[in-house]
Symmetry: C2
Subunit: 313 residues, 2 copies
Amino acid sequence: MIAVVGSGLVGRGWAIVFARAGCTVRLWDADPEQATRAIRGIEAELDGLAELGLAGDGPPPEVLGRISVASTLDAALDGAAHVQECTPEILETKQAVFAQLDAAAAQDTVLASSTSGIRASLFSESLTGRARCLVAHPLNPPHLIPLVELVPAPWTDPAVVDRTRALMEGVGQATVTLKKEVPGFVVNRLQGALLHEAFRLVQDDVADVADVDAAVASGLGLRWSFMGPFETIDLNAPGGIADYVARYGELYLDLARDGGPPRPWDPHLARALETDRRKQLPASRLGERARWRDRRLALLAAHKLRHASDHDI
Amino acid sequence: MIAVVGSGLVGRGWAIVFARAGCTVRLWDADPEQATRAIRGIEAELDGLAELGLAGDGPPPEVLGRISVASTLDAALDGAAHVQECTPEILETKQAVFAQLDAAAAQDTVLASSTSGIRASLFSESLTGRARCLVAHPLNPPHLIPLVELVPAPWTDPAVVDRTRALMEGVGQATVTLKKEVPGFVVNRLQGALLHEAFRLVQDDVADVADVDAAVASGLGLRWSFMGPFETIDLNAPGGIADYVARYGELYLDLARDGGPPRPWDPHLARALETDRRKQLPASRLGERARWRDRRLALLAAHKLRHASDHDI
């Protein structure tokens, strides 16, 4: 049994992830109306997913039937092996919620936060059960992008990390396990590195916003949708990755040095980017485009599922 | 009529790009046997592409019929509107080949190099026709990854850039046009930024090679296969990209500063990466895996083609 605490978009996505894999899910929200809305949202989402083969084995009503709204936090936690916390990204909120969870959950229940940036050490230090707390950060939405970052605090029990990884992989997610807690974890550090270079290229008037986007969306991003950066370069030199480093390492070092130290994303640049993006997509259509993105992610997930083992070696 | 000069993997890919779009292609290689082998390679490739709807409108023999091997460079250039140069990545070679091309091609023929890193200013400066020279750098293979970087030298005629962009977009490629010549162009600067962070995460023992790869291949890379980094963050804050910068700009700056100055990829790290990758994939299977990669790229290209206009807004 899985307890999902917080029923916004992230909580809804997690409920789908666990329920479509056959787990019983109890959803709890401090705002009971939000939880009720969440169930209706999940119901609608499951129909679309089922059409693409992404709603698990059973029919959508069966998957939906595994998700219930708990009327109290205690009821949600009763018998839960794993709690996936999905409350707002505010340190004080995380601290208060984790104190509540640690006080109420059975001793062997794992307490995992979906936070994208707040380290587990910041909200678990003073808790009796701090060894069972960790971050399990999904990308959004978790039911369409499988990756979860597992980030232990210095005091998290390694067995808790192992159990969480086994659970996540068991329900079809992919994991990256951090061996220590670092700011930004892995995903946002990688994304940040790419963003800094993208910002610099526009600021230095090397290329337009839309062109930098095309360089990724029609270029680099294609390989990266099924191979990571290391495997990519391992296959891009005849002798593998060591050969690649020997051939191009110095060149890449020059490029990195040439960029100079990290620059703040100043308000002037932010305004220029905003103006540019709004020409491509008016603010009034941001929501519509986010739905388009999620539809494309769902189509891609179905595509990857279909070809996951094709010619795999 | 398009002349493709050099018939290795890049030249073959370009011949397919142009021929499947209906252009007549003349292939020339200093080694005539290599050119003959190229035709057989293209024939085999076209059959696989046709099954996925990636070989253009006509049947493969019709597409193949548009490609011929020229017995001399003059014959290849005769009547060519565009030359796509694909010879080895050696500065002296590029200089010699471009001198030959500039001497032999009609005045209004555009001379484009496929080089991934040699700036056009380095091989065109002394040529009479230097204003018609530029870099048109594809990702590999060009018939499966549509992106082409157009990089003018300081003296390249803007009309030549425009004409090349129109040609490339006309045959179904996507373009990024650099407004000035910078080392690494755009694609390798973006890739380098991500690689530097990936190397750092492994070197600092934050995460394993396979886990960093998973962070991209099952996470970040999914969105990036159809949206660039700017559009991604534009949709990741309620108020668009300016809102995103206001919310997270300082955090990303801290992460970038936290990484410290660019580090060389030292031989010790390269050996560790090589050892790690060879456990995942023995050296004897690198070629097989590269074919798997190309198969996945072809499947993804077909997928993107199918959904390009789906729900597009």
